[in-house]
């Protein structure tokens, strides 16, 4: 338990650290925010107008005042105003987040549905030709960058079948579920591919470990069928590392898949961050990065908690 308490105690510390890193980093960006915001039109501003704008966005204050204000606002759920969208940062983020969340969930489902059976199959056919096939496929899957795969998918579809992925205006799940799924399925396959490969490798090795354990041998000698041993006895224990891996990967995906969203023209969190960086929308970059890091940390914490819940040995070992 002490381990978990320590993790919980460190959590706010790390979060403050993250907020400082983000805050300081953004202020080190060369050039000023007003010019970035207005582009060439910034040249038309009178000095008084410029000052008024700077005061409006609060960027005329020294950095520690800005940080203090930002932190105080943060505690009230106020992440500031996005200069690109003219809206509260949190609203902009929450508009984009459902897509990213849905994409992450879909990719994880694909990865687990493909990866776990493939891993179990390889483990139960250990050192046979089919095992080798799965391992080679997994290795190739793990080495394929998602942007290469995305382009290959788009090319195969357009050159081979004359179809293009459904881009255009994005329709949320609750408005048009079918169209939404049509738009997200290819990006989800793209992201799920390497993820499935990692799940395959981890479930295969975990399964191999478990299958050589004493209790599996006992179950077998008691006359439990081979299939029963695999699904009832071995798999639940072999899934522990798979849960950890999936959680960590899921946490990454919640940060938005910058490149894949870019290729498939999806308005998710990843593209929002990239655009915010390119537009020098200070408040939005800060808000996004903090939001993503916060999610990432929460997911990692949950992964640890699940790990402890699934593997009682960890708890007992610490008492």
């Amino acid at each position: 338990m002490t381990y978990l308490l320590r993790r919980l105690a460190v959590f706010p510390l790390v979060l403050i650290g993250v907020s400082i890193v983000v805050f300081v980093a953004i202020r080190m960006v060369p050039g000023d925010a007003i010019t970035a915001m207005l582009g060439t039109e910034a040249g038309l501003l009178t000095p008084a107008q410029r000052e008024a704008l700077a005061a409006y966005f609060g960027i005329d204050q020294p950095w520690f005042v800005q940080y203090g204000r930002w932190l105080a606002g943060l505690l009230h759920g106020n992440l500031g105003i996005s200069s690109t969208y003219g809206k509260p940062v949190l609203d902009v983020i929450l508009e984009r987040f459902p897509l990213t969340l849905e994409l992450a969930l879909l990719s994880m489902i694909i990865a687990l549905v493909v990866g776990v059976p493939a891993g179990v199959f390889a483990a139960t056919h250990n050192e046979k030709f089919s095992d080798l096939g799965v391992r080679v496929a997994a290795m190739i899957g793990q080495s394929t960058p998602n942007f290469v795969l995305a382009l290959l998918i788009i090319y195969t579809l357009s050159a081979g079948f004359g179809v293009l992925p459904a881009m255009g205006e994005f329709s949320p799940l609750w408005q048009d579920p079918l169209r939404n799924l049509g738009q997200l399925i290819l990006p989800a396959i793209t992201l799920g591919f390497a993820f499935a490969a990692s799940v395959t490798r981890v479930s295969r090795s975990a399964m191999l470990d478990v299958l050589s354990d004493d209790y599996v041998r006992t179950a077998r000698s008691k006359g439990v069928s081979a299939r029963g041993v695999i699904w009832r006895h071995a798999l639940p224990n072999a899934l522990i590392p798979v849960v950890t891996l999936s959680g960590i990967e899921f946490g990454y995906l919640l940060g938005g898949a910058v490149i894949v969203e870019q290729i498939y023209a999806l308005p998710g969190l990843g593209r929002l961050v990239l655009d915010a960086i390119l537009q020098r929308d200070y408040a939005l970059v800060q808000g996004c990065v903090l939001f993503i890091a916060f999610n990432f940390m929460i997911v990692n914490l949950l992964v640890d908690l699940t790990y402890v819940a699934l593997d009682p040995r960890i708890r007992l070992g610490e008492q």
Partner: protein
Amino acid sequence: MRMLRAVFAHPSGRIGGVIVALYLLLAVLGLLGLTPHNPLMQYRIDRLHAPDSTYWMGTDLFGRDVASRLMMGIGQSFTVAFFSVAFAALAGTVLGLAAAWFGRRWDGVLMRLMDVLLAFPAILLALLIVAVAGPGTRTSIVAIAIVYTPIFTRVVRGPALSLKAREFVDAARTFGSSSSYILTRHLLLNLVAPLTVQITLALAWALLTEAGLSFLGLGTQPPAASLGLMLSDSRNLMETAPWLMIFPGVAIMISILGFNLLGDALRDIFDPRMRRAIA
């Protein structure tokens, strides 16, 4: 020499080793400019020329030879990957050893700092750094190095802590060995194995990250070639000139595969207990 023989006795080590060696050769040739054509020369009459005996991989929109640009790109990508991983490994080793050796407050502060860096998804942190320092090769190196430093710090700190508690370190101290002698002679030497594995795998990630940053237009800047940039440029010409996408795409994939295979083989060799567990 014994190491090399062990790598080649391992099936994935053999394949990974050959791939990596081949890429290293291409990278060196690309960096030295020993390419079939000048990678920056625009052969205007031969724009978007399909692959043939003159242009092995075709030409791009400006009539530049894709094979030559690919070699230049591999040289570029490998330069970024090697320097960034070298910096990350060096910084991570120093920080990890410092945390383990000094312990207590040092350890706490250093590791919390690393926790802060690890709280960012890798590509996000890299993007943030590039946003601050501006796009380019040098920034890519710095960004990737910063992203991977905490990972090396953790890899070094764990084993270093357990080594520090071992009898031979106490013994060395009793004999009057200096801290720096113990650190380099006893700790660092025993960390060679985990570090080698980590460096090989980190090279695969670094290649991936470099390609990703260049793909987004934030890494290598034109007219220089990089695999990610070539891939990004191919997007609008996919149907008329698919070779522009296929060659750099496959080149990135195989290079990462090579390092992954080699990394797995090294892990097997250094830790025979893991042999069965790794696919």
